[in-house]
């Protein structure tokens, strides 16, 4: 088993005929992801990816015709929030939005609609997820993965790859790797993914890759302390040496209530039983030290 995606994933790609959409759809298909449909308004009836994938004018039609159950969005920022709403409206429950640069306020009603529909949005501005050996959705390079039992969750893009590569190089395979995205408003937070991993019988260890800013790592740590006591878990926080507050406003600092610094995050994670690495390359060793034998 895996979380979010797997062999049962039937993917519809919104923006499949665009440059990025096509490039990464090919990579997903090559990895073995079952792309059942593409969507580009006005291109319904065409076939994408060398004729292997039917293109529809609307996601609703794609769902009706192909039974798509997962959406991956490569639509440009101006249209991406609408693309998420379209996937929700078509009844899709797992939606990855890769698009970056979406104005923050645009996402607020969208994440609410996702919540009201009982769906799950990963991203925006996220690299997607990979369930090694089963499927990958998004833009994470497939080559860095190895099948296994470590669940990885990260809010960075390339830093995730770095961490996953380190795991793979050390022989530690992954059950699912999830990049939740780094935007201020994202559909799925650390905590949500930890909950999924908790219920996944194939995930036996956890890697959390965070960074300074916000309070998501602290919130996840608080939950993990209570619900994930038994599982070996490690973390890495980027930005320990970053100079303070180039972008964080005053009022931003109080919501997080002193949270947001690397020190705060490391302390919270350590208190919750995470071993916190100083470099991504140390993660495998720390995981073994935490008792993981996978």
């Amino acid at each position: 088993m895996s979380v979010l995606i797997g062999r049962e994933t039937r993917l519809v790609v919104s923006g499949i005929t665009g440059r990025e959409g096509e490039f990464h759809s090919r990579a997903m298909q090559a990895y073995g992801t079952n792309i059942v449909a593409g969507m580009t308004p006005g291109k319904g009836g065409l076939r994408a990816l060398d004729g292997t994938v039917p293109v529809f004018d609307t996601v609703a039609e794609a769902v009706r015709e192909t039974g798509a159950n997962t959406s991956c969005i490569f639509v440009p920022a101006a249209g991406a929030p609408d693309a998420v709403l379209e996937a929700v409206g078509a009844g899709i429950k797992t939606i990855f939005c890769i698009t970056e640069g979406i104005p923050v306020l645009d996402m607020i009603p969208v994440v609410e609609e996702v919540r009201l529909a009982g769906a799950r949005l990963i991203g925006p501005n996220c690299p997607g997820a990979t369930s090694p050996g089963r499927a990958k959705v998004g833009i994470i390079p497939g080559s860095i993965h190895r099948e296994g039992r470590v669940g990885v969750v990260s809010r960075s893009g390339t830093l995730t790859y770095e961490a996953v590569q380190a795991m793979t190089d050390a022989g530690l395979g992954q059950s699912t790797c999830v990049g939740i995205g780094g935007d201020p408003i994202i559909g799925t937070q650390f905590l949500d993914v930890l909950k999924l991993f908790k219920d996944d019988p194939e995930t036996e260890a956890l890697v959390l890759i965070g960074e300074i800013g916000g309070a998501a790592e602290e919130e996840a740590a608080a939950w993990a302390a209570e619900h994930l006591a038994a599982i070996p878990k490690v973390a890495f926080i980027a930005g320990r040496t970053a100079p303070e507050g180039k972008r964080m406003g005053h009022a931003g600092a109080i919501i997080s209530g002193g949270a947001g610094t690397a020190a705060s995050k490391v302390a919270a994670l350590e208190a919750a039983g995470f071993r916190v690495a100083e470099s991504p390359t140390e993660l495998p060793a720390l995981l073994r030290a935490a008792g993981f034998r996978g």
């Binding site: 990025e20 990464h24 970056e100 640069g101 979406i102 104005p103 923050v104 306020l105 645009d106 996402m107 607020i108 009603p109 994440v111 609410e112 833009i139 994470i140 390079p141 080559s143 860095i144 990260s154 809010r155 960075s156 893009g157 390339t158 830093l159 995730t160 790859y161 770095e162 590569q165 780094g182 201020p184 408003i185 994202i186 937070q189 890759i209 960074e211 300074i212 916000g214 309070a215 998501a216 890495f236 980027a238 930005g239 320990r240 040496t241 970053a242 100079p243 180039k246 406003g249 005053h250 009022a251 931003g252 600092a253 109080i254 919501i255 209530g257 100083e278 470099s279 991504p280 390359t281």
Partner: protein
């Protein structure tokens, strides 16, 4: 993007919020003219003007950037003093001149993004005029929070609730209307933060000279969402170039995120998290990063070349660390950009390049052919860069 107080006030005014009048002056003479106008206004209850430095850093007051003046002469003098200041490294090029308020009571009110609930949130307090962080520490009960509904916004009742909870007393209607106005401002301009501190009850002279009280936005701070600048063409004009390194401007032109730091190891990385990690590892290896530089996803050769120019424009840079983990970004494109950039660069600085991920093999071949120093892991790359910097410095 932060904007100056006067610009923030103009946005608030355009959305119908009560803001006392002001003028912006670039010279003491202009400040004098503005002062004459406000000193002559019969509504001016204090008979003075306030002159405030327009700079994008906090602590203007302590730095001598906010002063009162009781006459045109004094205003000209004070403006000259303030316009000569440099506050936290930023030159003061403009001052705001307005009637000095006769403040009855100061409040705090802001609306901002609350990431964890993924909603906008109001923060209000009857303890205004001081740093809200200070209030949060000393008297957290004095702070009121109210979330904005993600679909409905702030219905009238919620604005009233907020106003009553903050405790505007007889000014509750004005307080509720201002809360709605701040949200409207935020939505109209794609702001990240709209903060009024102080939101103040001031006393003015009414038509017959009788004192009248009203609630007004005495100060204003607005930051705009960088991702939304494309749909607000007017915002670019609000950018305070003084508050930016010239390198920032160049970086923006190429969609790069660049922050200059104090060290000597230039870093070029794709992805903010990995860029911070690279800095962390440089520091851990005993070096000091000269910058944060994220070339973003899918960077092409020209963007890589621009990034290289930015790094090399910093004379402190003694070594360069390039760390690319290809996903959207293709390693070979970056390698080509590096080769091109090296061909044009004016000074020779040692460079350590690590490219992994998408098209890493093609990249490795290109780099090998061009005799670049490469590294397999990030730790190794950091160590090599630190060693090179030391060798250059020695």
């Amino acid at each position: 993007m932060k904007i100056q107080e006067a610009d923030a006030k103009a946005l608030l005014l355009a959305q119908g919020l009560p803001v006392p009048p002001w003028e912006v002056a670039r010279t003491p003479t202009q400040a004098r003219a503005a002062a004459v106008k406000f000193l002559g206004d019969p509504a001016n209850a204090t008979g003075k003007v306030v002159i405030k430095a327009q700079v994008l850093v906090g602590g203007r007051g302590k730095a001598g950037g906010v002063k009162l003046a009781g006459s045109a002469d004094e205003a000209e003098d004070v403006a000259a003093q303030i316009l000569a200041l440099e506050i936290k490294g930023l030159p003061v090029r403009r001052v705001l001149v307005g009637p000095a308020a006769d403040i009855v009571k100061e409040y705090y009110l802001s609306v901002l993004l609350d990431r964890s609930t993924r909603r906008l949130m109001f923060i209000g307090s009857a303890e205004g005029g001081v740093e809200i962080e200070q209030v949060a520490r000393d008297n957290p009960a004095a702070i009121v929070y109210e979330h904005v509904d993600p679909l409905l916004g702030l219905p009238d009742y919620a604005a009233r609730e907020l106003a009553f909870k903050i405790g505007f007393g007889p000014h509750w209607k004005a307080g509720a209307a201002i809360a709605k106005g701040l949200l409207k401002t935020m939505l109209a301009y794609d702001a990240d933060l709209v903060e009024i501190n102080p939101l103040a009850v001031i006393r003015e002279h009414g038509a017959q000279g009788t004192p009248v009280e009203r609630l007004v936005c005495l100060d204003a701070k607005v930051t705009l969402d960088d991702s939304a600048l494309a749909r607000h063409p007017g915002h670019e004009a609000l950018r305070d170039l003084d508050a930016e390194d010239p390198a920032d401007v160049e970086a923006r032109r190429y969609d790069l995120t660049f922050i200059k730091l104090e060290g000597d190891i230039g870093c070029m990385v794709n992805g903010a998290g990995l860029a911070m990690t690279t800095m962390d590892l440089v520091k851990r290896a005993g070096g000091e990063p000269a910058n944060f530089l994220d070339i973003g996803g899918g960077a092409k050769a020209d963007r890589v070349a621009a990034a290289m120019r930015l790094i090399l424009d910093d004379p402190n840079v003694k070594a360069i660390l390039v760390n690319i983990f290809g996903g959207i970004t293709r390693g070979d494109e970056v390698a080509r950009g590096l080769i091109e950039a090296r061909g044009q660069q004016e000074r020779e600085v040692p460079m350590v390049v690590r490219i992994v991920g998408t098209n890493a093999e093609e990249a490795a071949e290109l780099l090998r052919a061009a005799h670049f120093e490469t590294a397999a892991t990030l730790d190794e790359a950091a160590a090599k860069a630190v060693a090179s910097a030391r060798a250059t410095a020695a």
